[in-house]
């Protein structure tokens, strides 16, 4: 194993962690009565974060293979719309209860996400369409399909048991969805580091030709990679539906770009081969901290977007400066 690629602290992980902590301290001190670290506010951040975690680890893996997925938000929306439709039709005679609605919710969202990922993987791996173009196309297709299904409206009448038994449940005051997301992250991270899946992904991101010449079936690997990524987006869709018991078709337009920004801020390279899960998770958290903090300090929330823009450019500048030093 590469001793130069620290499993936990590589990339920008340390300084992004420092920035996260610093911002939390600043917002806490600046907010009236310490409102920033109020449990309700922290829980709200963590609940949003559970979705962000799914998208950012998916995007990080893809970036490892020099791939990008712009259709993440659309995939999550489509998954939640299909699952919501199924759940609505199942509960015509009343809410069938969480022992039925929750398995259906996760099964349907994961399957829809997986299928969306398979389509992305086939377009990129087999038809060799550039991932930026392919997923820009499927972004429109998945979002449009979601709108066709619901006639452009958001879905209502989803059984409330998905919220009462999951979406608004806390364990040790932590949202259940956040805990579940953490477990998913741990599993994905361990498999990526310990199995051949991660090695092959990084090989493809370093040089697709070299990967092929070492006998790796890169077409099949792309399909696997995008389907895992799609399934993770599906899980994000499930979290979204369970939180609000309604879909949010228009609210996920920035999800993919936010995930890419988070990954890149954490030190993951857009050009493939460099994968830092924890840097990416902390980078994505930065946006949520900023957003919440600025709202609490009564700044208009769009300042967050500007701040993230600056941090993103700074992160990439630091990375390219490091690369230049490394070239020797």
């Amino acid at each position: 194993m590469d001793r130069f690629r620290h499993p936990l602290l590589g990339g920008n992980t340390l300084w992004v962690l420092g920035l996260d902590v610093l911002l939390v301290i600043i917002f806490q001190l600046a907010s009236a009565n310490g409102a920033f670290l109020n449990p309700i506010n922290v829980q709200a951040i963590l609940t949003t974060y559970s979705q962000v975690m799914m998208l950012v680890i998916a995007q990080t893996m893809l970036l490892g293979a020099a791939q990008i997925d712009l259709s993440q938000g659309a995939t999550a929306v489509l998954a939640s719309v299909v699952a919501g439709t199924v759940l609505v039709s199942m509960s015509a005679g009343g809410d069938p209860g969480p022992h039925i609605t929750l398995p259906v919710l996760f099964l349907v969202t994961i399957v829809v996400g997986l299928l969306a990922g398979v389509i992305n993987g086939v377009l990129v791996g087999w038809l060799r369409i550039n991932s930026l173009v392919a997923t820009l196309g499927t972004l429109g297709i998945y979002l449009g399909t979601a709108q066709v299904i619901t006639n452009g409206e958001n879905l209502y009448g989803v059984p409330l048991s998905i919220q009462s038994a999951f979406g608004s449940v806390y364990l040790w005051r932590v949202p259940l969805s956040t805990l579940l997301a953490a477990v998913v992250v741990a599993v994905v991270w361990i498999q990526f580091r310990r199995g051949s899946f991660g090695t092959h992904t990084i090989a493809i991101g370093s040089s697709e030709k070299a990967a092929i010449r070492n006998g790796i079936d890169t077409r099949w690997h792309m399909v696997k990679l995008y389907s895992v990524a799609g399934a993770l987006c599906g899980i994000a869709g499930a979290f979204d539906l369970a939180r609000f018991t309604t879909t949010d078709i228009g609210g996920h337009g920035n999800d993919a770009l936010a995930a890419i920004s988070g990954a890149v801020i954490g030190g993951t390279s857009l050009f493939g081969g460099k994968v830092y899960f924890f840097g990416a998770l902390l980078g994505a958290l930065l946006a949520l901290i900023l957003q919440s903090g600025l709202v609490i300090l009564r700044f208009p929330p769009f300042y967050q977007v500007i701040a993230i823009g600056f941090i993103l450019i700074l992160a990439v500048a630091i990375d390219s400066f490091r690369n230049r030093n490394e070239m020797r």
Partner: protein
């Protein structure tokens, strides 16, 4: 199978890249224990031919056989024991030396971890270290270095060690010593001779004609995609070989 059957055989291979004809009517038989050198000017088609021999590039027509069996893919050729050092080395720069040497053929852990698909990186690191030590080259000690931090020569050593580790029937080397210092070149040539003596068929492309003449048994001269001469290496000189490569003698004979 008799002793004289070829290990690797190229039958009537041609290769077109769009309009460009890179190879036409190439037939070669390589036997166990033999070192064959492919010689030719830049663009003669040497790399194209070698990429076809190892299954990385499908020929436009013709076939490649390993011990009489036609190869269907790169993977198939690898399983038949064809090892290859590519001219561009085909290394993944963000992986370590050991990860590169086992890329696509990783060793799994035993027990539960293996069932989960986990890899035994400690064992791979150890085996990679042994393989490189076996080569006798001391410039590459730490197999846990990512390839992007290695020098050109160290990268070449990694690619050679990988090919050696996996080749059982034939070893193909496309300019394997271009970035090496004289001492490492001598070690690599020595290893090639040892490998051939153990019964492997070796095919070598190299620009350094004196060292080619020192180790090769047979020379195959390519010019503009065709084999123009096949001859024993013994008795040849740098001058005679170069004139065959550029075609002075033929042109003189034809005139």
């Amino acid at each position: 199978m008799s002793h004289a059957d070829p290990v690797l055989e190229i039958r009537n291979v041609a290769k077109q890249y769009g309009q460009i004809t890179a190879l036409t009517g190439v037939n070669i038989q390589m036997f166990a224990g033999e070192i064959v050198a492919l010689l030719g000017d830049n663009g003669a088609g040497k790399s194209t031919l070698m990429n076809i021999m190892c299954g990385a590039l499908p020929p436009s027509s013709g076939e490649v056989l390993v011990r009489g069996e036609p190869i269907t893919s790169l993977h198939h050729a690898q399983e038949m024991g064809i090892g290859m050092v590519y001219q561009d080395l085909a290394l993944a720069h963000h992986l370590t030396v050991a990860e590169n040497m086992f890329l696509g053929r990783e060793l799994r852990s035993s027990g539960l971890a293996g069932t989960l698909g986990w890899l035994d990186s400690a064992r791979m690191d150890r085996k990679a270290t042994e393989e490189i030590a076996h080569l006798g080259i001391s410039t590459l000690r730490d197999v846990r270095m990512p390839v992007r931090l290695l020098s050109g020569g160290q990268r070449q050593v990694a690619a050679i060690a990988r090919a050696l580790m996996w080749s059982k029937a034939a070893l193909l080397l496309d300019e394997p010593t271009a970035a090496l210092g004289p001492k490492q070149v001598a070690l690599v040539l020595e290893t090639i001779k040892t490998i051939a003596a153990k019964g492997m068929a070796v095919c070598l492309i190299a620009h350094d004609i004196p060292s080619v003449l020192a180790i090769a048994d047979r020379l195959i001269i390519l010019r503009r995609g065709r084999i123009v001469r096949t001859l024993p290496a013994a008795g040849q000189t740098v001058t005679s070989v170069v004139s065959m490569m550029v075609g002075e003698n033929d042109d003189a004979a034809a005139a």
